[in-house]
């Protein structure tokens, strides 16, 4: 028995084969939205009666496709099925959750309000940055502890004092910056970083130019210069002219600091250096 199926007269589908049979016909282009009714191509094709008939027929089919069949409301069954697999929180539980959220939000607001009030009434309590101290205090502290002013001892004091008195933020940093230590001194205006090739002895010989000179206000991340050289910090104050800090291998408590006499005019680093 020969049975003819509607599919039999169609070629086997391949994309290449399709292109050969004219998938880019005017009707396709129009139905795909690639050309409009006003395009010359469409107008030309529309003059042919077969084109018109086929188009009308096709548009009728498309229209009937767009008419959606009646859709049942599946919300209830879907939510029931979801509840079966992952049960929803009971209404009482939901109330507890919302109450808990409300109280947490209220607590947070209260805490923020308290901080704001505290900030206004007693700002020093919430101030986390170390307060600036003049170099004279440091020197005085060094004298009080009867440690000879020879580098490591003095700086040891500085570092200890800074660590114990400064804010927790400063303590958190495992490798505090040279600049941070200097910030504690408060009176430093300018800092020079010198190369370390020749060591301290070479620096003493003089004639080595600074790698960089920075105003105190601008020093920042580049002060992570441990191991790069010597730093000369100028205070510019009348009481204390400058101090010399070797940046190499600097760690809290190991930094070597030497306070020097006030220097009028330009700083001559070599003249500031004394034997440690």
């Amino acid at each position: 028995m020969s049975t003819r199926r509607p599919n039999d007269h169609h070629e086997d589908f391949t994309e290449f084969g399709f292109r050969e049979i004219g998938g880019d016909s005017t009707q396709d282009k129009y139905l795909n939205g690639e050309i409009s009714r006003r395009s010359p191509e469409f107008r030309r094709a529309f003059q042919q009666s077969t084109f018109r008939e086929e188009l009308v027929e096709m548009e009728g089919i498309v229209e009937s496709l767009k008419r959606s069949p009646k859709t049942p409301d599946l919300c209830g069954s879907i939510l029931d099925a979801v509840n079966e697999r992952r049960p929803f929180v009971a209404p009482q539980g939901r109330r507890w959750i919302s109450a808990w959220r409300m109280s947490a939000a209220a607590g947070l607001l209260l805490a923020l309000g308290g901080v704001a009030v505290m900030q206004r009434m007693k700002p020093e309590v919430l101030d986390l940055t170390p307060s600036p101290r003049p170099l004279s205090t440091v020197v005085a502290a060094a004298s009080e502890t009867r440690v000879p002013i020879s580098g490591s001892s003095v700086v040891g004091i500085v570092a200890e004092r800074m660590t114990s008195q400064s804010a927790p933020a400063a303590r958190r940093d495992a490798t505090p910056l040279l600049g941070r230590t200097l910030a504690g001194l408060g009176v430093v205006r300018q800092v020079e970083v010198l190369p370390a090739e020749n060591g301290w002895a070479g620096r003493q010989a003089g004639g080595i130019m600074p790698v960089t000179t920075e105003l105190w206000d601008t020093v920042g991340a580049q002060w992570r210069l441990a191991g790069e050289g010597w730093a000369v910090a100028r205070t510019g104050s009348e009481q204390h002219g400058a101090m010399v800090i070797p940046a190499s291998g600097w760690k809290p408590g190991r930094i070597r600091l030497r306070p020097v006499e006030p220097m009028p005019g330009a700083l001559d680093a070599a003249s500031l250096v004394g034997p440690f």
């Binding site: 509607p6 089919i61 599946l74």
Partner: protein
């Protein structure tokens, strides 16, 4: 809200694909349950509807796969199923009995890909690029499926309208 917004489009898509309201309903429900229980996996860079349709389509294919008779693999080819989709033969046979409207019967003469592309484009109003992305095929292939699907749909419609139902049924089988 999410369900109300999308249930209609998914249901009608599945209904047109399967031709069976009960299947469309079951698969739609299951798709939404999967979506709602896995909302954390949704990638907001993509459209929600595309994600939902991907899940719905996969579930429908699974359903078709389960319904395929294990020993009757040759029947797929015998029904003239050019797409090679396993459900075509079964679905077509069932539809000849069950489908009432001409359009649905004509739709079921299309291959799976043709039907899907035609439904997504003309019923769901998806642009060609989105269909190509969704079905992971080049835009040219989508267009060719559209072309052939429309042509076959028109032919099937006129055949159904002109021929007595017994003759047609025989012809398809």
């Amino acid at each position: 809200m999410l369900v109300r917004l999308h249930q209609r489009s998914l249901y009608t898509y599945l209904l047109r694909m399967s031709g069976r309201p009960d299947v469309a309903e079951d698969v739609t429900q299951e798709a939404f349950v999967r979506v709602l229980t896995n909302l954390d996996r949704f990638d907001p860079r993509f459209r929600f509807s595309t994600w939902l349709f991907t899940i719905g389509r996969r579930l429908y294919l699974n359903w078709c796969e389960k319904r395929r008779p294990a020993s009757n693999t040759d029947a797929v080819g015998a029904t003239g199923n050019e797409s090679g989709r396993p459900e075509e033969g079964t679905a077509r046979r069932e539809l000849n009995v069950q489908a009432k409207d001409v359009l649905q019967r004509a739709l079921m003469t299309l291959s799976f890909e043709q039907r899907e592309v035609v439904v997504l484009f003309h019923q769901q109003d998806w642009p060609i690029w989105l269909i190509a992305e969704h079905l992971q095929m080049p835009e040219g292939t989508v267009k060719s499926h559209l072309h052939r699907g429309r042509r076959r749909l028109r032919e099937a419609m006129s055949a159904i309208q002109n021929a007595p139902s017994e003759t047609l049924q025989e012809a398809w089988l």
